[in-house]
């Protein structure tokens, strides 16, 4: 950095600049600050290395021979990468169909939640109607309802509807109830949009549906992005409900459920297991890395409310 500033700005300018940014610091204090900066940096770097070590170990295990995983100690580099592990997990164990199930169920759940929360959030945020307080009250009371509490009635309901062994059953189970946060996020956003926008459209003769789909929903794209991320995580990582719903229907398993079934059926194929785990985690980690900033902002925004 110093070299960079030197060449670009010349030494004279640089000293002026430094004086301005830290006028009262003595050299000794500056050295102490730099030292503590590096100590903290090194400490955090070590912590993060330990933190993500399980993932590094997992990727390494997925490229080793089963015997090699535990025999080579802490060495993460495989003798020679065995890509065949991935082929085995993908086709022989059936992860290709688990993957497809996970994608279908996740996309279905995300679409369902966005559709119903955007509609409900819009009227809750912008309009007054009979029953509004009751509705908000119910939403808030059930905010923290645990999944273990609702699983038996939901299973029974899905069974009655004849959807127990279908993708739709899992999608409805995950997305039709709950997810209050998404509705509240939309309501909060729509509340802040100025009223005149709708008035103008109404004078031009637009009905409520046109106003919502043509004007309001496109305006709310940041919330749609946030809800997409949160629901993608939720649905992709869901376990209890897909597990219960597919107990008698192995071909409907999602990746999370398939993984645990794999453990029961091939309990010594550790490298196949590791490859399957990498395949299952890859999409969600990829989405995270691409949309990182938005991820963090969505979660931070949720707690500030």
């Amino acid at each position: 950095m110093t070299v960079d500033t030197l060449t670009r700005q010349g030494s004279g300018r640089r000293s002026v600049r430094r004086q301005r940014s830290a006028p009262r610091q003595s050299p000794r204090r500056r050295i102490a600050a730099t030292t503590s900066r590096w100590l903290i940096g090194t400490g955090l770097a070590l912590l993060c290395a330990v933190w993500i070590y399980p993932f590094l170990w997992l990727v390494s295990a997925s490229l080793k021979k089963p015997a090699e995983i535990f025999a080579k100690g802490l060495n993460l580099i495989p003798d020679s990468p065995i890509w065949e592990n991935y082929v085995r997990a993908w086709s022989e164990v059936g992860f290709s169909s688990y993957f497809l199930n996970s994608v279908l169920i996740t996309l279905g759940t995300v679409a369902l939640v966005i559709f119903r929360s955007a509609l409900a959030g819009y009227v809750l945020g912008r309009h007054d109607f009979i029953g509004k307080r009751l509705l908000i009250g119910i939403l808030l009371v059930t905010f923290f309802l645990p999944e273990g509490y609702t699983i038996i009635p939901i299973t029974q309901l899905t069974d009655r509807l004849g959807l127990l062994n279908s993708h739709l059953g899992v999608i409805l189970g995950l997305g039709a109830g709950g997810q209050v946060a998404a509705t509240l996020l939309y309501a909060g956003y729509f509340r802040a949009i100025p009223k005149d926008l709708e008035e103008a459209a109404r004078i031009d003769g637009a009905g409520p549906l046109t106003i919502f789909f043509r004007i309001m929903l496109p305006l709310a794209w940041p919330i749609t992005a946030t809800v997409f991320i949160l629901q993608f995580l939720y649905a992709w990582n869901a376990y209890l409900l897909p597990l219960v719903f597919t107990l008698s229907q192995p071909e409907l398993r999602t990746l999370a459920v398939g993984m645990t079934a794999f453990v029961g059926e091939h309990d010594t194929d550790w490298s196949g297991m590791a490859a399957a785990a990498v395949l299952s985690l890859l999409p969600v980690v990829a989405v995270f890395i691409v949309l990182q900033r938005r991820f963090v902002e969505s979660l931070a925004g949720a707690v500030k409310q």
Binding site: R37, W38, I40, G41, L44, A45, L47, C48, W51, I52, Y53, F55, W57, I69, F70, R116, A120, V123, D128, F129, I130, L135, T142, F143, L145, P146, G148, Y149, T150, I151, I152, P153, I154, T155, Q156, L157, D159, G177, G178, G207, W236, N237, Y239, L240, A256, M259, V263, A274, A277, L281, V284, V285, V287, F288, V296, L299, A300, G301, V303, K304
Partner: protein
């Protein structure tokens, strides 16, 4: 709620309002139907099921009054699961909230290098699938796995410990993995909370000669109390929803040593040869009550803190 917008509508009669606002109810339809069927109905139905002897989804239940609750009261395994859930909560939540706060304070300092990168790495486990993380950690925490190798090599322990296969350590290992997996999200919450504190406050304190500790004690901490309550509540509810991780790590074992309430419910309702759906529902109802008590206590706490701040 919206008193400003409510005023002009006041002249309209109830009937007319209902007729004119038909589209509002149309917009609410998907939520009302979905939410009614998949959240409100289960909430109510669980109570009814708790009074039934109901040996399977294909059968009809028979009303047996309070018999399920009486049985639960004397069921050692239920109380074992209940205690395990509470132990899980009491150990993991302070750990998660405290560690995340310490890290957030360090990561919030402008002088800390690579803040974005560190934050991303610490957050990474949060996005991963709990059930898959659980399976992976059965290998990592294995007696021959990397954690034991590292601990033996650095002479922190003499003999490898079978963390998950040992009744004395299984629950605590699950707590450790859970804190590792979810710490990142609490960290983000804390960072968001810290950013609501105006920077000028610290500058003023520094001019008055306050050191880092006094800054923390007299500025950061008091302003963080409302966030502390909300974050603790979110993490507590999280600590009661650990089915995916515990089920895949230990399955509740060995010898029920790490069986939390959700695993107990799952086992009685879905894994038993004769499913005991009514009995499991009674356990679920008690579990729901526990969660609700915690949420209400927190809500009271938040309200009293807000009132205290407004009074000041």
């Amino acid at each position: 709620m919206d008193h400003m917008t409510a005023t002009p509508h006041r002249e309209r009669s109830t009937l007319r309002r209902l007729r004119e606002d038909w589209w509002i109810y149309l917009f609410l339809l998907p939520t009302v139907v979905g939410y009614g069927a998949y959240t409100v109905y289960p909430l109510v139905a669980s109570w009814w099921y708790a009074f039934l002897d109901w040996p399977g989804f294909a059968m009809r239940g028979t009303f047996i009054g309070l018999a399920n609750f009486k049985l639960l009261w004397h069921d050692d395994l239920f109380w074992n699961a209940f205690t395990n859930s509470l132990v899980f909560l009491i150990i993991s939540v302070p750990l998660r909230v405290g560690l995340a706060l310490a890290l957030a304070i360090v990561l919030n300092r402008p002088s800390t290098p690579f803040r974005g990168l560190f934050r991303t790495l610490l957050f990474l486990p949060v996005v991963t699938t709990g059930a898959i993380v659980g399976v992976v950690f059965t290998l990592i925490l294995d007696a021959d796995g990397p954690v034991n190798l590292a601990l033996v090599k650095t002479a922190l322990i003499e003999e490898p410990v079978n963390f998950l296969g040992n009744a004395g350590t299984s629950l605590y290992s699950a707590i450790g993995v859970w804190v590792w997996k979810w710490l990142g999200i609490t960290l983000i919450y804390w960072l968001a909370a810290l950013q609501t504190i105006p920077h000028e406050l610290y500058e003023a304190a520094r001019i008055d000669g306050a050191g880092p500790w006094r800054e923390f004690r007299y500025i950061t901490l008091p302003l963080l109390v409302p966030f502390l309550l909300i974050i603790t509540l979110i993490d507590m509810v999280g600590a009661l929803n650990v089915f995916d991780l515990v089920m895949t790590l230990t399955g509740g074992g060995p010898a029920f040593s790490s069986e939390v309430i959700e695993v107990y419910i799952y086992r009685t309702a879905f894994q038993a040869t004769v499913p005991q759906l009514g009995y499991a529902s009674a356990a679920a109802v008690l579990f729901g009550l526990l969660t609700m008590v915690l949420a209400v206590l927190q809500a009271i706490g938040v309200r009293s803190v807000r009132r205290g701040m407004a009074a000041r």
